[in-house]
């Protein structure tokens, strides 16, 4: 519900929400759940308004979208930068929007092309709806490398790599000196609430930075015993204890770790642990542009080109960020065009509970997936980051739907836009005539 009046702020919004019980397949959580649905409805509706009023879909969005400085009264999330215009500019440039819009204006014939756009907004993590906690432990080995432990999980997205980069940066050690056991769990690590709500880089980042800063302080306090330099005159850089006044290397972290561990007076294993509650949240934004070719008599859509532009704050690892966007776009393509659970009308039994009949999109159904970023640092974030896990999905389906509208004039209010649905709608609109008419030729 909250999704609707936020992207295009509206003071007079009233909505009713109700829950429906069905005897169909039990639903589970799937990437961004709630948002792909709401953004599909909202951005299809927004497009229809623009088309009806004869307004340019991009200009209309620029005029009505959340303004810079907007603060959500509930989450206290704020739009700090001119993100929407920046992401729209990048997307339009890549897809060559204006030229294509012009070229596709008065098409006739069986095969027609169209371009479409969609914006989206997203939250990072679940505060203040629910609690957000993250914890981090760092254990120094005798060679000056560390074991990093966080409760936030690696599920293939590269979280462990990003966490290691953060730890290395704040602590002042080389990336290779951070060891992390992938797929560790809270049997071993301190507690984190999990991989959901696009939260991990934001929330674990806070625990990692908090832990690393205290660890650094503690290490310098210990180093004072052996270097006799005041802690405020020292720093850790590239795995060494250095004197900041002249940059001299006083000892390596390895030497320090070994020395203190075997100190007969004050033996100590260097470790730090920190648990953090996160009481902020951050908006994640962006847009998608899609270009399609619709073969009307064949009731088929070919996706020609697609771009997602995200403002996910600063990127910790641009290549992993891109991969994250590619995966989300792929899921969005299936959501838009092919993935549908089919039920037997009489029994309610699921008909296509297998990967042959449930049509995930394949590599052959994807064009090149372009992922671009506008890196505006998030002020509330330990490393300037904000959510990117789920945000790649929501804008894809409405952008494709709007491109199909641009190509054919048919405004689909349902997804997936499968050939079956196109057949029905094209018949209704008289774009195709079916077999009866063919017989009369």
């Amino acid at each position: 519900m909250g999704a609707l009046p936020q992207l295009y702020p509206c003071g007079n919004f009233e909505g009713d929400a109700f829950t429906v019980f069905t005897n169909r397949q039990v639903a589970g959580a799937m990437r961004g759940y709630g948002m792909p649905q709401a953004i599909f409805a909202l951005e299809s509706h927004t497009e229809d308004i623009a088309v009806k009023l004869g307004l340019d879909p991009v200009d209309y969005r620029r005029k009505t979208v959340m303004p810079v400085g907007y603060v959500d009264s509930f989450s206290k999330n704020e739009l700090y930068h001119d993100t929407f215009n920046q992401t729209l500019d990048a997307g339009m440039k890549y897809i060559d929007f204006r030229r294509k819009q012009e070229a596709y204006r008065h098409q006739t014939g069986d095969v027609r092309r169209g371009v479409g756009v969609s914006l989206f907004w997203y939250n990072t993590a679940v505060w203040p709806i629910a609690l957000e906690t993250s914890s981090c432990r760092m254990v120094m080995n005798q060679d000056g490398s560390i074991q990093l432990q966080v409760g936030e999980t690696e599920i293939g997205q590269g979280a462990d790599t990003a966490f290691s980069q953060m730890a290395a940066q704040t602590l002042g050690i080389p990336f290779e000196k951070v060891h992390i056991v992938s797929c560790q769990d809270t049997d071993v690590t301190p507690y984190g609430t999990g991989a959901y709500a696009s939260r991990q880089t934001y929330t674990a980042g806070m625990a990692i930075r908090g832990c690393a800063e205290e660890f650094r302080k503690h290490i310098l306090d210990v180093a004072y015993r052996y270097t006799r330099m005041q802690p405020y005159l020292m720093d850790i850089a590239d795995g060494n204890i250095i004197r900041t006044t002249d940059g001299r290397i006083l000892m390596t972290l390895g030497e320090l770790a070994l020395t203190v561990l075997y100190d007969r007076e004050r033996s100590e294993h260097l470790t730090m642990e920190k648990s953090t509650q996160i009481k902020t949240n951050a908006y994640s934004f962006g847009c998608c542009f899609a270009e399609v070719e619709v073969d009307i008599p064949m009731c088929r859509v070919k996706l020609l080109d697609i771009i997602n532009v995200h403002d996910a704050g600063l990127l910790i690892n641009p290549e992993l960020a891109k991969a994250q966007v590619h995966g989300g776009m792929s899921m969005g393509i299936g959501y838009a065009l092919s993935e549908k659970m089919l039920y037997d009308n009489k029994t309610g039994k699921l008909l296509n509970g297998n990967l042959l009949d449930y049509k995930l999109s394949t590599m052959m159904d994807h064009p090149h997936l372009e992922a671009q970023f506008v890196e505006n640092p998030e002020p509330t974030s330990a490393y300037g980051t904000k959510g990117l896990g789920e945000p790649p999905v929501p804008p894809v389906a409405p952008a494709i739907r709007n491109a199909i509208l641009n190509a054919t004039g048919i405004a689909f209010n349902e997804i997936p836009i499968r050939p079956h649905l196109m057949y029905e709608e094209f018949m209704k609109a008289g774009l195709i005539h079916g077999r009866e008419a063919a017989k009369n030729v």
Binding site: P297, T362, H420, I432, A438
Partner: protein
Amino acid sequence: MYDIKALYEATTVDEAVSLRQEHPEAVIIAGGSDVLIKIREGKLAGRELISIYGIDSIRGVSMEHDGTLRIGSLTSFSHIVSSPLIREHIAVLGEAAGMVGGPQIRAIGTIGGNTCNGVTSADTASTLLAWDAVIELAGAEGVRHVPIESFYLGAGRADIHSDEIQTGILIRREAYEGFSGHYIKYGMRNAMEIATAGCSVNVKLSPDGNNIERLRIAFGVAAPVPIRAHKTESQWTGKPADDETAEGIACSVLDDVKPRDSWRASRDMRLHLCSEMAKRAFLEAVRRNKERRV
């Protein structure tokens, strides 16, 4: 895992024929991309299998003295895709084989299995039907030849006697010489997909390139088995190879096809697609045939 009672392996056609006689209940397995799935689903669980995969003599594409193209039953899809003989004479069969599943399935699946399974959606079946292919079978009594159209007995059933195996698929010179074809697979996605409908058309134009001398149209998933559009073929043979004829074909194939309603697609939608596919496959086959002449 796989519930298999016994596996007998043949390395020659004769061995396979004797195994068939010794184990009449056994199921033939070639690449196994249908059979193994049925075993896992339980439909063929606990059965004896006769593997013919090791019979190298029925693998590969060759040309006989009289110009007949011989495709050994064990020839894989990927082999067919890259065969120079197929490319030169019946390129469309290579195109159809290239649309099967994904690379792994094309490497293991055989054209023999794709026809012996009696499946209407099989990607090579409609094209073989359109090329008037002849099925060769070997049994205790010797070799038997069956036109592919009568090889299909019903959904999932083919004319294979209990002592026989399919050894080859033959396409005679008069069936391919001077012809060009086109196959359209209609699926919901571009890979790992069983056809919702398929249409394979080939034509031979008159020497001046203006009229249809021979026309063959075959459909998959337009009936329980792959079918030919005989009425349409005879109605339009001799007519000009132009857009008007294409529209006429689009219309008349509706009397030839008998698709059914299923949750995968409605009858009406399949009819519409059959009509559109026939038109397009015809026009493309004509274009290719004209191109061949210049």
